[in-house]
C-alpha cells in the first residue's frame, strides 16, 4: 500500500470517527423500566415508537425490572449510580420511594399537560390517583377468572362467593402468593361490605377471619408469583379459577382466543404509573417526554393495545378500538359501568403499613 493511500485512509477514518461521536452526542437515550410482556408492548406502541418517529435522535430502551423497582431504585441511589431514567411503578411503592427521597417530587399542574378540554392535571386525573411523586397512567384491576371449558354450561360462577364455594364450583384455584387482594376477597366473600374491608382487616380478629375463610379453599389452592403464570395455569387447565391482572387475561382471552371469563364482582382496582428517579442523568429529557406521553390522547391510545383504563377523565371518551382486533375496548375496561358494580379499591396506605407482618403470616399459612 502506498504512503499516500494510507494517509487518505487515516484521514478518512479520523473524520468519520469525529462525525460518529458528534452524532452520538446529539442522541438521547432513555432507559424505561416497566413490567414486560403485553404491558410493555402497549407502552412501546402507544408512547415509545410514535415518539421516536417524531424525534429520530431519541432512543428508548426497555427494561423489564418493574417487579423489583423499589429494590432497584434503592440500590441505584445507594450506589450513587442511577441508570434508570423512568420507572413504571405501583403507587404504594412510589409512596415509599418518595418518602425515602429516591424519586422526584412532581408538581402535576406545572409539569404535565392540561387535558384536551383545558382542565388542569390535578383535576383531570382520576380522584385519588395522584401521588406526591407519582404520575398515574392507567387504572387496572385484579380479577377472578375461570376457564369456561371446565364448568358445565349454565352453571358458571358469577361472584367472589362462588370462588370460595368449592362444593358447587369444584376445581383448583390459583391465587398470588401474597396477602394483598386475597385477604380482601376472603372478607368480601365472608360478607364484609367493600367499604369496610380495610377497617376489619386492620384488626387481629379481622385478620383471623380472613385466614379462616381462606382455610376453606386451602386444599384447592395453587400459588402463582409472576403475572404471566396465572393465564398459563388457566390455559393448561391446571386450575379452573385463577386470579390475575385484567389486561393479561384480556390478552389471553381476546388475542389468543382462550375460553376465559372474567368475574367482575369484587374486582380490586388500583392505579399504576410513572415515577422519575432523583439524580438521573436525563431528568429534563424525561420530563419533556412525560409531558407528551401522559397527555389526553396518549393515555387513550394505550387503551387500544391493552384493556387498562386511562387515568385521565378527558381520555375516557377517546378510548376506541383494539389496534389489531378492532373490537370496542370500552366494555373491557375495569371502569366500564357494567364492570364497575362492586369494586374494591386497593388501599395502598394499609398495605404499606401491614405488608411486612401480613406477608410473613401469609407465607406461614401457605
Amino acid at each position: 500500500m502506498s504512503q499516500r493511500l494510507l494517509k487518505v485512509i487515516g484521514a478518512g477514518s479520523a473524520v468519520s470517527l469525529i462525525a460518529m461521536s458528534a452524532a452520538q452526542a446529539q442522541d438521547i437515550s432513555l432507559t424505561v423500566v416497566s413490567w414486560g410482556g403485553a404491558y410493555t408492548e402497549s407502552q412501546v406502541r402507544a408512547y415509545h415508537e410514535p415518539w421516536m418517529e417524531m424525534n429520530p435522535d431519541w432512543e428508548i430502551i426497555n427494561d423489564d425490572g418493574s417487579a423489583n423497582a423499589l429494590a432497584g431504585l434503592r440500590s441505584q441511589s445507594e450506589a450513587g449510580n442511577v441508570t434508570w431514567d423512568l420507572v413504571d411503578m405501583l403507587p404504594s411503592d412510589a409512596q415509599l420511594a418518595c418518602e425515602e427521597g429516591i424519586i422526584m417530587p412532581i408538581d402535576h399542574d406545572e409539569m404535565l399537560a392540561d387535558g384536551e378540554d383545558g382542565t388542569p392535571p390535578s383535576e383531570d386525573f382520576l380522584e385519588g390517583s395522584l401521588g406526591e411523586c407519582f404520575i398515574p397512567q392507567i387504572i387496572y384491576s385484579t380479577v377472578v377468572t375461570y376457564n369456561s371449558e371446565m364448568f358445565e354450561e349454565g352453571n358458571y360462577p358469577e361472584t367472589i362467593e362462588d370462588f370460595f364455594d368449592t362444593e358447587n364450583f369444584p376445581g383448583r384455584r390459583a391465587i398470588q402468593n401474597r396477602p394483598a387482594v386475597n385477604m380482601e376477597w376472603a372478607l368480601y366473600a365472608d360478607g364484609v361490605d367493600p367499604e369496610e374491608i380495610y377497617d376489619v382487616l386492620a384488626t387481629p380478629e379481622g385478620q383471623d377471619r380472613a385466614f379462616a375463610k381462606l382455610d376453606t379453599i386451602k386444599d384447592d389452592l395453587v400459588f402463582w408469583e409472576e403475572g404471566a403464570q396465572s393465564p398459563q395455569l388457566l390455559a393448561d387447565q391446571e386450575v379452573s379459577f385463577a386470579t390475575g391482572y385484567n389486561g393479561r387475561i384480556f390478552d389471553a382471552a381476546e388475542v389468543e382466543g382462550q375460553p376465559f371469563e372474567i368475574i367482575w364482582d369484587g374486582q380490586v382496582v388500583e392505579f399504576d404509573g410513572w415515577v422519575v428517579p432523583a439524580d438521573g442523568e436525563n431528568v429534563d429529557e424525561v420530563m419533556e417526554y412525560l409531558y407528551w406521553a401522559t397527555d389526553t390522547q396518549r393515555l387513550a391510545d394505550q387503551a387500544s393495545y391493552i384493556s387498562y383504563g386511562p387515568a385521565r377523565h378527558s381520555s375516557q371518551d377517546l378510548v376506541g378500538q383494539h389496534a389489531d382486533l378492532g373490537i370496542d375496548m370500552a366494555e373491557h375496561m375495569p371502569t366500564h359501568p357494567d364492570n364497575y358494580f362492586a369494586p374494591i379499591e386497593l388501599n395502598n396506605e394499609f398495605w404499606t403499613d401491614w405488608r411486612d407482618e401480613l406477608a410473613e403470616r401469609f407465607n406461614n399459612w401457605m
Binding site: L96, D353, L358
Partner: protein, 432 residues
C-alpha cells in the same frame, strides 16, 4: 539468575575459619538469594493478582457488605437522637407510656429531620415498620406538621395516630436506638424481644425460618441421596465401557448441562403438571382415573425431581473420573482370591471411588442449599427453600432480615463443611 553462579571461597589456610559465602558479583549469598526470591515472589503475586482482585471485588467485598447490612441499624439513632436520649430513663416493661419529654423530643427530632433530610424520615418509617406494623403511618401522621406543633405533644400525637398511645412503638425506639442491632438475627431464628427485653419465641403463626432452614437441609440431603443413587451406577457403567461408548454416554449426561436452566425447569413443568405428559399417559393407559391426576409439580416433589436432574452431572463427573482410574484388575484379583461378587464389590471396589463420592456429595449438597430459581418455579409452597425467603426480603422492605438469613445460611454451610472435614477430611476430596 544472579545466584546461579554462586561460588564459595574458602580460606583453609588462615586457621580453618569460614569466610562469608559470596556470589560472583561480590554480594553475600544470603542477600542475593533473598533478592532473587523476592523477585520471583513478586512475579508469582503478579500472576495471581488479577484473580485475587476479582475475588475481592465480586466475592469478599459483597459478602462483607451483606454481613454488615444484617447488623447495621443507623436509622433510629441518626434521625431521633434526642428521643433515644429522653427514653433512657423510661422503663419499657411497665405498661406505661413515656413522659411528655419523650414526645417533645420526638417532635423536635422529626421537625429537624424533615428540614435536613426528608429521605431519612422515610427510611426511619420503613425501619420502624419492620418491627411494628402501622409505624409507618404513625410517623407519617405526625411528621408533616412537626415544625408547627406546640405542647401538649403527647395528646396531640395520640390523637393523630393511636399507635403513639401504645408502649410497643416506644419500646422499639428505645431498644433499636443503637447503631448496631441483633434483632434481625432473632427474627431469622423465629425469636423476638419480650417487653422486658428478654428473648422469647414468636407466636406460633409467625414462626417461619427455622422450619424453612430444616426443610432446606432435608431437601438438599434428599437430592444428594438421589443424585448418588442415580449417579453411581451410571458412572460405574461408563467407567467399565470402552472409551468410545463412554464418551457417547457422557454426552447424554452433559447435554442437559449445556441447556439453559430455565428451559430444563420449564420442560419439567410440561412433563409433570396435572394436564402434562406423564399424567395424561397414566390416565390414557387407565392406570389412574381422570380425577386422580397426580400433583407432581408446584410442590416438594417438583423441587426434588427438577433439582436432582439439574445437579446430577455434579455427582457423575467427579465419580466417573475417579472410577476411570481404578484398575479393573483389583476386582478380578478379589474374585480370583475367592470373594463372592458382592463381597468383592463392597470390600474391594466400593472404598476406592469414595473420594469421588465425597467430592460430588459436597458439590451437590452445597449447591442445592443455596438453590433459588428452580424452587421458585416448580416448588409451589411446600417446595420453597430458604433462598426464596432471602430473595423476598432483599427485594422487599426488610433487606437487613434477608442479609441476616443469608449470613446464617453461610455459617451453616461453613459448620457443615467443618464437620465434613473432621469426619472425612478435605484432603480426601477428589475431583478426578
Amino acid at each position: 539468575m544472579a545466584q546461579a553462579d554462586a561460588s564459595m571461597e574458602l580460606d583453609n589456610r588462615s586457621g580453618g575459619s569460614v569466610e562469608k559465602m559470596v556470589t560472583a558479583d561480590g554480594l553475600p549469598l544470603k542477600t542475593s538469594l533473598r533478592r532473587a526470591e523476592r523477585r520471583s515472589k513478586l512475579f508469582a503475586f503478579a500472576l495471581v493478582a488479577p484473580l485475587l482482585g476479582f475475588l475481592l471485588i465480586v466475592f469478599i467485598f459483597p459478602m462483607a457488605q451483606m454481613m454488615w447490612r444484617s447488623v447495621d441499624n443507623p436509622q433510629i439513632i441518626n434521625t431521633l437522637p434526642r428521643t433515644v436520649e429522653a427514653l433512657e430513663a423510661w422503663n419499657p416493661s411497665a405498661e406505661e407510656l413515656p413522659p411528655e419529654e419523650a414526645y417533645a423530643a420526638l417532635n423536635a427530632d422529626l421537625a429537624e429531620g424533615l428540614e435536613r433530610d426528608r429521605g431519612a424520615i422515610g427510611r426511619l418509617q420503613g425501619r420502624l415498620n419492620n418491627d411494628v406494623s402501622g409505624a409507618r403511618a404513625a410517623v407519617r401522621s405526625v411528621a408533616g406538621q412537626a415544625g408547627d406543633r406546640s405542647e401538649p405533644f403527647k395528646d396531640k400525637f395520640i390523637e393523630a395516630n393511636a399507635l403513639w398511645g401504645e408502649p410497643a412503638i416506644w419500646r422499639v425506639i428505645q431498644r433499636e436506638g443503637r447503631p448496631l442491632t441483633a434483632s434481625r438475627y432473632l427474627r431469622a431464628l423465629d425469636r423476638e424481644y419480650a417487653p422486658d427485653g428478654s428473648i422469647q419465641m414468636r407466636d406460633e403463626g409467625q414462626r417461619t425460618y427455622v422450619a424453612l432452614f430444616m426443610r432446606t437441609f432435608a431437601l438438599s440431603a434428599t437430592i444428594l441421596g438421589l443424585t448418588f443413587l442415580l449417579g453411581f451406577p451410571i458412572s460405574y457403567y461408563m467407567a467399565t465401557l470402552p472409551m468410545r461408548y463412554a464418551n457417547l454416554l457422557m454426552i447424554f449426561v452433559l447435554l442437559p448441562f449445556w441447556t439453559s436452566l430455565l428451559v430444563r425447569t420449564s420442560a419439567w413443568i410440561v412433563l409433570l403438571q396435572q394436564q402434562g405428559v406423564i399424567n395424561s399417559t397414566l390416565v390414557g393407559l387407565g392406570i389412574i382415573g381422570d380425577d386422580q391426576r397426580l400433583s407432581m409439580v408446584y410442590n416438594m416433589t417438583g423441587t426434588i425431581v427438577a433439582m436432582t436432574h439439574i445437579l446430577l452431572p455434579f455427582m457423575v463427573l467427579p465419580l466417573y473420573s475417579v472410577m476411570r482410574g481404578i484398575p479393573p484388575s483389583y476386582m478380578r484379583a478379589a474374585k480370583g482370591l475367592g470373594a463372592k461378587p458382592w463381597t468383592a464389590f463392597r470390600r474391594v471396589y466400593f472404598p476406592q471411588p469414595l473420594p469421588g463420592v465425597a467430592a460430588g456429595g459436597v458439590l451437590v449438597f452445597i449447591i442445592s442449599i443455596g438453590y433459588y430459581i428452580t424452587p421458585a418455579l416448580v416448588g409451589g409452597q411446600s417446595g420453597r427453600m430458604i433462598s426464596n425467603e432471602i430473595a423476598r426480603h432483599i427485594q422487599g422492605d426488610n433487606p437487613g432480615l434477608g442479609a441476616a438469613i443469608a449470613t446464617l445460611l453461610l455459617v451453616c454451610v461453613m459448620i457443615l463443611y467443618w464437620v465434613y472435614n473432621r469426619l472425612v477430611g478435605a484432603d480426601n476430596l477428589k475431583l478426578g
